[in-house]
């Protein structure tokens, strides 16, 4: 939720935990649960098919609201959709021409590069800061729990709202960021954070890092709580210092959680839309355009839905690849934990 989640952006911590539980259930203890459920079924004298009525609406929902838009998007990518298509209902099939057009679009290559920089930069620093905060909040100190839960507040606000606050902070002339940096003489003249082609990508990445830190902290904090304290005590008895304990106990045992956080983070970062739209609309001159905002621009600003659908398909492919990485990571994680 977690970011687009909540925000859209971000799905809450529960989602990950639940997802992992479901993954484990589906993957590892099938035998045990399967046996029990067969017994339960017999005792009730019915079959799973009689109960199907309860999940049938959900299946219809999946078909209408996930499968259909997905299929529509794939079909649109081979059609010439224009404004008139919406009046006449006609959109001729044009083969791979939309794909060629997107490939040759002057903004495409830069957009892919921006997306990679934005995603890698966001993930790296969200994870680093999130881990540092998670380790910090493991200490016991007065108000620790309260401060930790208050850190989640930015994550629960609509991204449009916090993005708007950042837009005001990053204003070139009257924004507090430039004013404060000038007061302490770090810069001589205001930096056009959102108005310059050379810093706009950095600015939206910084804000997106701020958005994602709480999510990373929550999940990693949960992971840290799961590491048995006696391992640290034993290592300390053997004379291992704080850094070596972190390096040889925390990091390896945190690996399954790390895999989950990073893959989920990647999927959410690819979807980031609100933050960039509010701050820069992908500009100036496409300098902070990512694939998601590019797809929006092609479909809903230039009204070339076929082209937007092509970029959408590209995003699907990337998301599906990492979705499978995520599902595998959760299974491996559970396997290791169970072993």
């Amino acid at each position: 939720m977690m970011a687009e989640t909540i925000p859209g952006a971000a799905a809450p911590a529960g989602a990950v935990r639940v997802g992992r539980r479901v993954g484990r259930r589906a993957g590892l203890h099938v035998g045990r649960h399967g046996g029990r459920s067969a017994g339960a079924r017999r005792s009730r004298g019915g079959t799973g098919w009689a109960a199907f009525g309860f999940i049938a609406p959900a299946w219809l929902y999946v078909a209408a609201f996930y499968v259909y838009p997905l299929a529509a998007n794939v079909r649109m990518s081979f059609q010439d959709y224009t404004v008139t298509s919406f009046f006449t209902g006609r959109a001729p099939f044009v083969g791979w021409r939309n794909y060629e057009a997107v490939w040759q679009d002057p903004a495409f290559a830069a957009t892919v590069a921006n997306t990679v920089l934005f995603t890698v930069g966001s993930l790296l620093f969200q994870f680093g800061a999130g881990l540092a905060l998670a380790v910090f909040f493991q200490r016991r100190f007065p108000l620790g729990g309260l401060l930790r839960s208050l850190l989640l507040v930015p994550w629960l606000l609509p991204l449009v709202v916090s993005g708007t606050a950042w837009r005001w902070i990053m204003e070139t002339d009257s924004g507090v960021l430039n004013q404060a940096l000038m007061q302490v003489h770090l810069i001589d003249r205001p930096i056009p954070w959102l108005a310059s082609t050379s810093v706009s990508l950095l600015s939206v990445t910084l804000v997106n890092i701020w958005v994602g830190v709480p999510f990373n902290m929550v999940i990693l904090y949960g992971g840290l709580q799961g590491i048995p304290a006696h391992l640290y005590e034993a290592a300390a008895l053997d004379g291992a210092g704080a850094w070596r304990r972190f390096r040889h106990i925390t990091l390896p045992l945190l690996r399954p959680v790390t895999a989950v956080v990073l893959t989920l983070g990647l999927i959410y970062t690819l979807k980031v839309f609100d933050v960039i739209m509010v701050l820069t609309q992908g500009g100036p001159a496409d300098s902070s355009q990512t694939l998601t905002t590019f797809a929006y621009d092609l479909s809903f600003q230039r009204l070339t839905f076929g082209h937007g659908a092509v970029v959408g398909n590209l995003l699907i492919v990337v998301a599906v690849v990492f979705a499978f990485v995520y599902l595998r990571a959760t299974r491996d994680g559970e396997g290791r934990a169970a072993a």
Binding site: V18, I55, A58, W59, R139, I169, K271, T292
Partner: protein, 272 residues
């Protein structure tokens, strides 16, 4: 740790919190400052000459968007629970056929990029003449929350012992009756959690709002703010007042329902 070190750690924690929450403070601060103090070359750290002018402007121009968001979000909660509660019951208690595949489909569905959904849903909404209809927004927003709601309710309902349901069946209750009068009350916390997050997702939605509404008066608050910045770039105190007002329902929900959120989330993660 000695007492001194513990308090030093608290001080460090407060500092971290102050840095992370600064943008929110800055939004509240700007919402109260008179326009003249917003354009000065020195930052005004405190709203000494506080004014509610920004809130008056915001309420008159954005009040309608707040209402739209409110009923779209409530509609989304209803739609989400209507789909998710029976599904979770079928999955967790009745072990419906094809259940595992459904869980898998929902896990994958969560990962479909929103812009792809927006493309497809726009074409469908256009064909059904639902552009600018709150119903289209409710249905589109529910795609953000249905997978999460099913998964969290499923996790919770699995912890309800089968004996509870079997006792009801022996007393002659139908499956539907058992769901409504036994399983739902027991799962209250999880239902509240699922509903709460559905509300938050819908309230925060921007992508579907901006793609599925073309007439300004039908737009939700997130789109209202977005277009408001575009039109009133210099009027920062009204823009920020709108932002604060858009945060109020979130803050209220978290304060009022915090207990349920915590209960629901831990129930979904600790028990097995």
């Amino acid at each position: 740790m000695t007492a001194v070190r513990r308090y030093a750690t608290t001080a460090a924690g407060l500092l971290i919190l102050a840095v992370m929450l600064f943008p929110l403070y800055w939004m509240v601060n700007a919402s109260l400052l008179p326009s003249t103090e917003l354009v000065g070359s020195e930052p005004a750290w405190l709203p000494v000459h506080a004014t509610f002018e920004g809130y008056r402007n915001a309420l008159s121009s954005q009040g309608g968007h707040l209402l739209t968001s409110l009923y779209v979000s409530l509609g989304t909660v209803a739609a989400t629970l209507l789909i998710a509660v029976p599904a979770a019951y079928g999955l967790a208690q009745l072990r419906a056929a094809g259940g595992r595949l459904l869980v898998f489909a929902l896990l994958i569905a969560q990962m479909i990029p929103g812009i792809v959904m927006a493309n497809g849903l726009y074409v469908a909404a256009d064909a059904l003449h639902l552009i600018n209809s709150p119903l289209a927004l409710v249905l589109a927003d529910s795609t953000l929350s249905v997978p999460f709601a099913v998964l969290i309710l499923h996790a919770f309902m699995r912890t309800v012992p089968a004996e509870v349901r079997e006792a009801a069946a022996i007393d002659g209750a139908t499956r539907l009756r058992t769901l409504v009068s036994i399983i739902l009350p027991v799962s209250r916390n999880a239902v509240i959690t699922a509903g709460l997050f559905s509300f938050l997702f819908a309230w925060a939605d921007f992508l579907f709002g901006v793609t599925l509404t073309s007439r300004d008066e039908r737009a939700p608050i997130t789109v209202g703010i977005y277009r408001f910045i575009g039109a009133h770039m210099s009027d920062w105190n009204s823009v920020m007042a709108t932002g604060v007002m858009a945060s109020v329902p979130v803050a209220v929900l978290l304060v009022v329902a915090q207990r349920y959120v915590a209960a629901g989330v831990t129930a979904g993660s600790v028990k097995d």
